[in-house]
């Protein structure tokens, strides 16, 4: 007796498990049972697991009977003629999906030549073991799996042509690459997924060499001429939105140019781009602080309006302005309304991003790097045929990472570019490297891919032959323009009077606990004090009760809230955070008494 479980719940028992399992599989292939059902017979525990629940990972395989696959030449011809589709093959019982459990009961052959009568399934293609992004890596089967992983992760961050209607879309924080190209060395997945319709990179000439050390530690060197011709140029879009919100009591936000008596009015200059409706016009060149949408809001508390109701217009300024460090050109203004029927304004600001030092680029093999230097074209190395690389990649990136596919792509790209054809680099099924090398030789180049290069500045020949070829490079979305940050003086927090945190708030860079320790270890006591002076305050302290006193600058006298005026009061310098702590102690009923003493 074998127990049968359906979705892990006991369903009954059968006498002949093998026959039962066989029957279910046959019925499933016939189509009388849903193709979503998987069966697994566990010989050790002698039970049968039927699974039909959602969320199992399953993969398709060709069914094999008596050592011959059910998928025949006839099927393939029909597929080519578009007479049948994939789902027809599943319906016909030629291909079926197995889950992890049922795979345990089957014997899968990798290639057709390996088939024996014991085999139950045949792999459709070895490429099926890779995911979408991973199978986009050309010659990926030559790489370590970790590099393949890195390569596919990088591709997800590449700038490209994400939608053809981008001009009328209101996406947050998107980039468009200006001259996207389809890769010369591509994989079959490129075709299947219509990659050519939304490409994410450019074919460029890459030389593997060093250049004055500016490509140390994974940095890359770009040709300034190439950049001027549009290499890696992109546009960054960032929308600003404003809504006319409704508040209790029939009050409503107003999108307009704020009046001068509005609370928190900026300067007239800040509103200069606004048109009469309070919204900026398209193609306005704006910088940080400029108002994009003018807006006023009703006072925050109704009661405060009643008490001091001298004027009804104590409205607050709540305009949307360009954040710190941003600039751009207004691309597109949209006026519409939201679900609640409130007026909704969206303004898309565009900013052209020319590659600069610090921008991140990558090939498809996990070989990412940051621009270390932009060299004028005249100073770049050149080959005998006058080819100047667009990008110089450091040779130190190769040995430890062992990205062989990176090197093969350069050969393949070079051959493809010279022969004027696209090259299939699908993992496990690519054009063989040897063939490409022979073709390269017939095209009049060294089959190894190396060339004699000349120093662009002196014209001297380099002693070493330089490996140079063409490959597909991607610009990644991490750009310095979005990250650069510095501060000398700036905003502070209200509660602690310490500098704010983070780039968006123009914050300071924290000198942390361990950094403090290094100052102490050097005995640099006064330097340490100076670094922590950001929230220093001078407070008067009553000598008799040791509590912070009050200094009345108007009457020019100090007094203690506890002991009155006839006590000695002295000023001390402490951090505001400490003063805050003393206040917190007091609120807890703890009396923090300060005893003053001359330090010197």
């Amino acid at each position: 007796m074998t127990e049968v479980y359906l979705n892990s719940k006991f369903a009954g028992s059968v006498d002949n498990p093998i026959e039962f399992v066989q029957k279910i599989r046959e019925e499933r292939r016939k189509g009388t049972i849903s193709e979503n059902l998987n069966v697994y017979y566990n010989e050790n525990t002698n039970d049968i697991q039927l699974e039909s629940s959602k969320g199992r990972a399953r993969r398709p395989l060709i069914i094999v009977k008596d050592g011959t696959p059910l998928l025949t030449e006839r099927h393939i011809k029909q597929l080519e003629k578009n007479e049948i589709s994939w789902s027809d093959l599943v319906k016909q019982g030629v291909i079926e999906y197995l889950d992890a459990a049922e795979e345990e009961n089957s014997l899968v052959a990798f290639f057709e030549s390996e088939l024996t009568p014991e085999h139950t399934h045949l792999e459709i293609t070895p490429l099926a073991m890779l995911g979408y992004c991973t199978s986009l890596v050309p010659y990926g089967n030559f790489n370590q799996s970790t590099r393949l992983n890195a390569g596919s992760k990088n591709q997800k961050q590449a700038l490209g042509f994400y939608a053809s209607n981008f001009a009328v879309r209101m996406d947050m924080d998107v980039n468009m690459l200006h001259y996207p190209q389809k890769p010369v060395v591509s994989t079959i997945i490129n075709d299947i997924s219509d990659y050519d319709k939304h490409p994410a990179g450019q074919n460029i000439v890459v030389a593997i060499m060093s250049y004055k050390g500016y490509n140390m530690e994974d940095a890359i060197i770009l040709n300034k001429g190439s950049i001027e011709r549009g290499l890696g140029r992109s546009t960054y879009y960032r929308p600003s939105t404003a809504e006319e919100l409704r508040y209790a009591g029939g009050l409503i936000d107003q999108i307009c140019i704020p009046d001068k008596d509005v609370k928190g009015y900026k300067t007239e200059k800040d509103y200069r781009f606004l048109e009469d409706d309070g919204i900026i016009y398209a193609e306005a060149k704006i910088k940080e602080g400029d108002v994009v949408i003018g807006k006023t809001s009703p006072p925050r508390f109704l009661s405060s309006m009643e008490e001091y109701s001298l004027a009804s217009s104590t409205r607050r300024e709540s305009s949307v302005n360009l954040k710190h460090g941003e600039e751009g050109i207004v691309d597109f203004v949209m006026i519409t309304e939201n679900e609640e029927g409130n007026k909704l304004i969206q303004v898309k600001v565009r900013d052209e991003r020319v590659p600069e030092v610090g921008d991140k680029f990558t090939s498809r093999h996990g070989q990412k790097g940051v621009v270390g230097l932009i060299v004028p074209q005249g100073d770049m190395p050149f080959s005998a045929s006058g080819i100047v690389p667009d990008l110089i990649f450091s040779h130190h990136g190769i040995p430890s990472r062992m990205t062989i596919s990176h090197l093969i792509e350069m050969i393949a790209g070079k051959t493809g570019a010279l022969a004027g054809r696209y090259i299939n680099g699908t993992a496990f099924d690519a054009e063989p490297e040897e063939k490409l090398r022979k073709e390269l030789l017939s095209l009049g180049f060294r089959e190894s891919g190396v060339e004699t290069l000349y120093n662009g500045q002196t014209g001297e020949q380099y002693h070493a032959k330089i490996f140079i070829g063409s490959m597909y490079y991607l610009k990644l979305k991490h750009m310095v323009a979005n990250k650069i940050h510095s501060r000398a003086r700036g905003p502070i927090q209200l509660l602690t009077r310490q500098p704010t945190e983070g780039r968006a708030k123009e914050g300071g860079l924290r000198l942390g606990e361990m950094e403090k320790d290094t100052f102490v270890a050097h005995g640099a006591s006064l330097l340490l004090k100076e670094r922590f002076d950001s929230d220093r305050t001078i407070v008067p302290v009553c000598e008799s009760c040791g509590i912070i006193a009050i200094k009345d600058n108007y009457k020019n006298k100090s007094y203690c809230p506890v002991c009155g005026e006839n006590v000695e009061i002295n000023d001390i310098e402490i951090s505001y955070a400490f003063k805050l702590m003393l206040d917190e102690f007091k609120s807890l009923g703890i009396y923090p008494k300060l005893q003053l003493e001359s330090k010197y």
Binding site: K516, D517, T518, V520, A521, H522, G523, A524, S525, L526, L528, K529, F532, D533, D535, R536, E573, I574, S575, A577, F578, M581, F585, I590, Y591, Q595, K599, Y600
Partner: protein, 385 residues
């Protein structure tokens, strides 16, 4: 000659003076000796930490930085007996916390001359058996309770007993020593325990049955495994489990070299100075085993702070940190609320004498350049002006 050296008695440590005395060539002239003493004194004062040097923090950084590279693994002894050794960061934490119960207590038992050679294997085996703890359950096959007359019958594994040189009478002695109120009858293959008191309760018998399983019939309590290892030309017994006090009682053991990795036990048996040295040795052993390089003096400082109070104290909020005089310093370490409330209850005064408090109130820390201050009091008139 002697008076030249004695001149330096309060300026150089006795140990250095002793070394000089021992290494001086015979009949050295006074002028030469003077020069030597001056050179030694110069070297010595150059090697000293400067006043205001933040030695503690530098020690913390010097141990802490390599500590980030340490592995978190415990290693296993390859061999017959499976023995674990805590190494790396967990062991350092164990030592610095001053824990009383270790993850893997271990002993290294050195033997006196005739035994250490290992020529008489039988003798060594005998000794190992004497050290390893054997519990009653290890030499018995069955414990049964006779409900009729409330007796407990322990069936003995005679083969095992022979192997570890145990006789029935020895087992009976051990049981009688550790279990009061019972009579034992020897049935050769088994022992029968009967309570002397008449108030026989079944539960009682059941409890005793469980209790006697853990009775030590042979060996030293707490030592679960014994492994004789050859080190250079002598045999050393390495044990899992530690019981320094009892092991030192054994006649064959060389008490001068035998150690345990349980520092608390060393403190109890040998005193605080030994504990201090043992902290240094143990930490240094870990750092060395990880292939790191830390100056011993940093470790010595840590060991000193753990031992200055006269008892072993861990670097925890219950140990060393609780001894800090400053409320703010204690509060900034761990459990601030507890420290501030207790300080408020007794009206503690914080003199702002050390580093953390001064960072908090933003004053120069009394370290390095912040240490010196004026010793002369300014005249009152000048102050008024």
């Amino acid at each position: 000659m002697a008076d030249i050296i004695s001149e330096y008695e309060d300026r150089l440590p006795i140990k250095i003076l002793g070394e000089i005395k021992n290494n001086l060539p015979k009949g050295i002239s006074d002028s030469k000796l003077k020069k030597i003493m001056e050179a030694v004194y110069d070297e010595y004062s150059n090697a000293k930490a400067h006043p205001g040097e933040s030695v503690g923090l530098i020690a913390a950084e010097s141990i802490g930085e390599p500590g980030t590279q340490m592995t978190l693994n415990t290693f296993h002894f390859a061999g017959v007996a499976e023995m674990n050794v805590t190494l790396g960061l967990p062991r350092i934490i164990e030592i610095l916390d001053g824990r009383k119960e270790l993850d893997n207590p271990m002993m290294e038992i050195y033997l006196k001359k005739p035994y250490a050679s290992g020529k008489k294997v039988e003798e060594l085996r005998h000794l190992a058996l004497q050290i390893k703890e054997t519990k009653l359950k290890d030499i018995s096959t069955e414990f049964t309770i006779n409900i009729a007359d409330f007796t407990i019958e322990v069936s003995l594994d005679k083969d095992k007993m022979k192997e570890i040189e145990l006789t029935n009478s020895k087992v009976m002695d051990a049981i009688l020593k550790q279990l009061k109120g019972y009579n034992i009858k020897d049935n050769k293959d088994s022992l029968v325990l009967k309570a002397r008191s008449k108030e026989d309760v079944f539960n009682d018998a059941y409890k005793t049955k469980e209790k006697i399983k853990g009775i030590t019939v042979k060996g030293i309590k707490g030592i679960s495994q014994v492994l004789p290892v050859k080190r250079e030309d002598e045999f050393v017994i390495i044990t899992a489990g530690s019981n320094l006090a009892d092991v030192l009682q054994l006649e064959e053991v060389d008490a001068y070299r035998t150690t345990t990795n349980n520092i608390f036990e060393i403190e109890q048996v040998l005193g605080i100075e030994a504990a201090r040295q043992s902290i240094i040795n143990e930490i240094f052993k870990v750092i060395e085993s990880q292939g790191l390089n830390v100056d011993v003096r940093h470790i010595m400082l840590v060991a000193d702070t753990m031992c200055v109070s006269g008892t072993l104290k861990g670097i925890t909020r219950y140990g060393v940190v609780s001894d800090k005089s400053s409320v703010l310093a204690r509060a900034s370490f761990e459990t601030p609320i507890k420290h501030i409330i207790n300080a408020a209850l007794v009206g503690e005064v914080d003199n702002l004498d050390s580093v953390v408090e001064n960072v908090m109130v933003n004053q120069p820390v009394p370290i390095g350049t912040g240490l010196p201050s004026l010793a002369v009091k300014a005249p009152q008139k000048a102050k008024e002006k």
